[in-house]
């Protein structure tokens, strides 16, 4: 399920190093997302990434991929998802491309760090996804090139020994 290296689209953020790295292409549906996450985690562990950092990547990627399958492709025809993962200078770079609908601008800015905790009966059952993405990524960059969404995220490695 590997594809070509994802082309770099400069959307003003610092570009990721995409090669060498892991490159996957898979359909935007839940079981394929699970398999892709498994492949990413195996690659990270083989690369010496520590369990805490692996957990952070799993959380971020699961949320981003859920957004793609549920909102970008929105229950209609699903489409391909291209995912690249690179490990570079103490950071992990994730790049995702899909052919779904554009991300609404309202979810993109980093949100207030403190979620509101109302009475239990009033608790929201949703909306946690983007909060988790922002909480765990150093920065993210989104752009749309024609019909393609491109999302780049960077995570700082916290518990992985710095590689010389």
């Amino acid at each position: 399920m590997t594809g070509r290296a994802a082309p770099m689209i400069d959307c003003g953020g610092t570009p990721c190093q995409t090669a060498p790295g892991l490159h996957l292409c898979f359909p935007g549906e839940p079981m394929a997302v699970r398999r892709a996450l498994g492949q990413v985690l195996g690659w990270l562990r083989d690369d010496g990434i520590g369990p805490g950092d692996c957990g952070n990547v799993e959380i971020v990627l699961a949320e981003v991929l859920n957004n793609i399958t549920e909102h970008a492709y929105d229950g209609g025809e699903t489409g391909p998802v291209k995912l690249s993962v690179a490990h570079h200078r103490g950071e992990l770079c994730l790049q995702l491309q899909d052919q779904g609908r554009a991300i609404p601008a309202i979810v993109l800015p980093a949100q207030d760090a403190t979620p509101i905790c109302p009475e239990p009966q009033d608790l929201s059952e949703g909306g946690f996804g983007w909060f988790l993405i922002h909480a765990l990524t150093r920065d993210l960059c989104y752009c749309r090139d024609g019909a393609t969404n491109c999302l780049k995220l960077r995570l700082r490695l916290e518990d992985t020994a710095r590689q010389g």
Binding site: R34, A62, P120
Partner: protein
């Protein structure tokens, strides 16, 4: 989505056997939990020690289960694994739910299995 239930005194123990509670199974999880918790037990304990990963869909489903319980019934969580615990901590849901380090800590001593 495999959920096992067991009665421990006035506590309904629900063991989640799947290793992921995520977008792929969140709806089934919520529906199955609704069925299983339609009992008189005032206390429900959910054993999550076999769950390696839970995303925001899974979190939303656990919140929905808590809201489904009628007033006066409680939902406690036990045995959160590291990544699952991190999701609860980051979203501050660890202040909403009573979370026990282990199943033994969640269950009252001397309450025998049915």
């Amino acid at each position: 989505m495999e959920l096992l239930t067991e009665e421990r005194g006035d506590t309904l123990l629900v063991t989640v056997m799947d290793d992921r509670v995520d977008a792929a199974v969140a709806i089934q999880f919520k529906d199955r939990m609704r069925e299983l918790t339609a009992t008189p037990h005032p206390r429900v304990v959910m054993d999550l020690s076999r769950v390696a990963f839970l995303d925001s869909s899974g979190l939303g489903a656990v919140v929905a289960v808590m809201k489904l319980l009628t007033p006066g019934r409680s939902l406690d969580l036990a045995g959160l694994t590291p990544t699952v615990a991190k999701v609860f901590r980051l979203t501050r849901m660890d202040t909403i739910f009573t979370i026990h380090d282990s199943l033994a800590a969640a269950l009252p001593p001397g309450a025998d299995a049915a």
